[in-house]
């Protein structure tokens, strides 16, 4: 328990250091942030599809709202743990982090959260442009969903973070697990609601997607945020996310413990 207390006490400082680091490398960070602008391309494509009439109830305004929220969720849940872990395990620089009294993962989490202010700075003009281009996107937001949306984004961040931790820990055994993570990422991009709202996927596929974890990472928060899910659907969505969070936490704790035991500390 004292370990947890240490993390809680150190966290504000970790956040401050993380933020300072992000500000120091601001240009690089902004370029990184801008690499995940696929929702904008998909918005352009779907907008053209909806030009001659709504697609399954999705009009141009709905697509603008959906992909604007998708852009926000994608950014606010972004983290680079898998790259950090891969690099630190391979080069042995994880050794220093392991000696510190706070858990290395706490440091990674603080670093990810510290990027949020910069992400917001990049997001605001992008969203403003979409809103100016398709003002009708404002219709359909559910103000009552706001608290659930915040919670859902936090849960999605947690699942993203843990999934990346799991893949990153595989580097304890494989030295390099980014290839595997890229495969995961490709599957995620197709089935999370990133390139098409899940409601528009071919019917048979949609049933399968409901049971896959990818929805918990993007689709659910976006549907809540864009007002596509209301009432009980919001609650069941949060519940799905929570269960994926719990399973990923168990798995992440397991691979981390076993992995650190195997850790070769290259260069030590």
């Amino acid at each position: 328990m004292s370990a947890l207390r240490r993390v809680v006490r150190a966290f504000p400082s970790l956040l401050r250091v993380g933020l300072a680091e992000m500000v120091a490398y601001r240009a690089e960070v902004i370029v990184w942030i801008l690499t995940s602008t696929l929702p904008l391309v998909m918005l352009a494509v779907w907008d053209r599809v909806a030009q001659d009439g709504a697609v399954q109830g999705f009009g141009q305004g709905d697509f603008a709202r959906y992909f604007a929220v998708a852009l926000v969720v994608r950014q606010l849940t972004g983290t680079w743990v898998v790259w950090e872990l891969n690099q630190q395990i391979r080069t042995g620089s994880l050794s220093a982090a392991l000696l510190k009294p706070t858990h290395p993962l706490a440091w990674f989490a603080a670093e990810s959260l510290a990027t949020m202010p910069i992400r917001a700075v990049v997001l605001i003009p992008l969203i403003a442009v979409i809103a100016l281009w398709r003002p009708e996107m404002g219709v359909g937001f559910e103000p009552a969903n706001a608290p659930a949306f915040v919670l859902s984004v936090l849960l999605a961040f947690g699942v993203h973070f843990l999934v990346q931790t799991i893949f990153g820990c595989l580097a304890f055994w494989l030295d390099q697990s980014l290839g595997l993570f890229n495969v995961w990422f490709a599957v995620w991009a197709l089935f999370s609601g990133y390139i098409a709202p899940i409601a528009l996927m071919p019917d048979g596929l949609r049933a399968a997607v409901e049971w896959l974890p990818f929805r918990a990472l993007l689709g659910i928060p976006v549907e809540i945020g864009a007002g596509l899910a209301t009432g009980p659907a919001v609650w069941s969505g949060l519940l799905v996310q929570l269960s994926w969070l719990a399973s990923c936490a168990v798995l992440a704790a397991f691979v981390w413990r076993r992995g650190v035991l195997r850790y070769g500390a290259v260069g030590a």
């Binding site: 370029v31 990184w32 602008t37 352009a44 390139i195």
Partner: protein, 264 residues
């Protein structure tokens, strides 16, 4: 490219192929993943056309397949050849090892641009070619001989423009040192090229034609196969490619001239 440079590059490619084939199971796995990737690249197209009307902005599913195929060929060349080389250049500049390249009796731009190759990634281009051929077979009107000749020319012009763009970006590493993420950004913009340009608004279309000319690399060859390319468009495409190549060559020369070598 002089004969000597050509032979030097050929020797390096042969070595890369042999090194890749030495680890047979790894090479097979990489090739398999690439083959899966080909299927994967088509899925978004399928998602969209599943819900779209028969024709979208003048493109049917089969015709769009051509664009996606050309996009894959482009991606193959990018990942097998352009990216690894220019990433290597950034490393050279950072570590000061570019000295060894500059001292060799072969044009340094050629060595730096084509010396490395990742054979497994090249399979993506082969997959792209297959997709294009399937797309051609499914066209309602078979392309005539002229179209079949013009399309590869347009593809080559597109590749040249892409290479010029990359060299331009990477040349800035002589001044800014860390530009690896800039090439990631470019890759993500390039992704817009997998869709027919007709789907985009005029402003975006202009950007994708003249600034990041991915549109001319993927959509224009497909248009040629559909018999919709005018001679003036071909001239525009060649002009853009030539401009990119010349500009990047000039910037490269300036960049090398200002290289200070990190090691000495």
């Amino acid at each position: 490219m002089s004969g000597r440079a050509f032979r030097a590059i050929l020797a390096q490619w042969r070595a890369a192929w042999m090194a890749a084939l030495q680890y047979r199971s790894n090479f097979l796995a990489d090739t398999l993943v690439t083959a899966l990737w080909v299927g994967w690249t088509i899925v978004p197209l399928w998602f969209v056309f599943h819900r779209a009307p028969e024709r979208l902005a003048g493109w049917s599913y089969d015709e769009s397949l051509l664009v996606t195929g050309f996009f894959m060929m482009l991606q193959g060349v990018l990942e097998a050849l352009i990216e690894p080389n220019l990433r290597g250049l950034v490393e050279h500049v950072r570590h000061g090892t570019l000295d060894f390249v500059l001292l060799k009796p072969v044009d340094s731009q050629v060595l730096v641009s084509f010396g490395r190759v990742v054979p497994a990634k090249a399979m993506l281009s082969v997959g792209g070619l297959v997709v294009v051929l399937v797309g051609i077979a499914r066209l309602p009107v078979a392309p005539d001989l002229g179209a079949l000749l013009v399309a590869p020319v347009l593809l080559m012009a597109g590749l040249a423009a892409l290479y010029g763009l990359w060299l331009l970006v990477v040349s800035t590493s002589f001044w800014f040192v860390r530009v690896d993420n800039l090439s990631y950004l470019l890759t993500s913009i390039l992704d817009a090229g997998r869709w027919p340009m007709g789907l985009y608004r005029p402003a975006l279309r202009a950007i994708l034609t003249f600034v990041v000319p991915v549109g001319i690399m993927t959509t224009w060859p497909a248009l040629a196969l559909r018999g919709l390319m005018r001679p003036t468009d071909v001239a525009v495409s060649l002009t853009i490619a030539a401009t990119m190549l010349v500009t990047s060559r000039l910037v490269w020369r300036r960049a090398v001239a200002s290289y200070t070598s990190a090691s000495s």
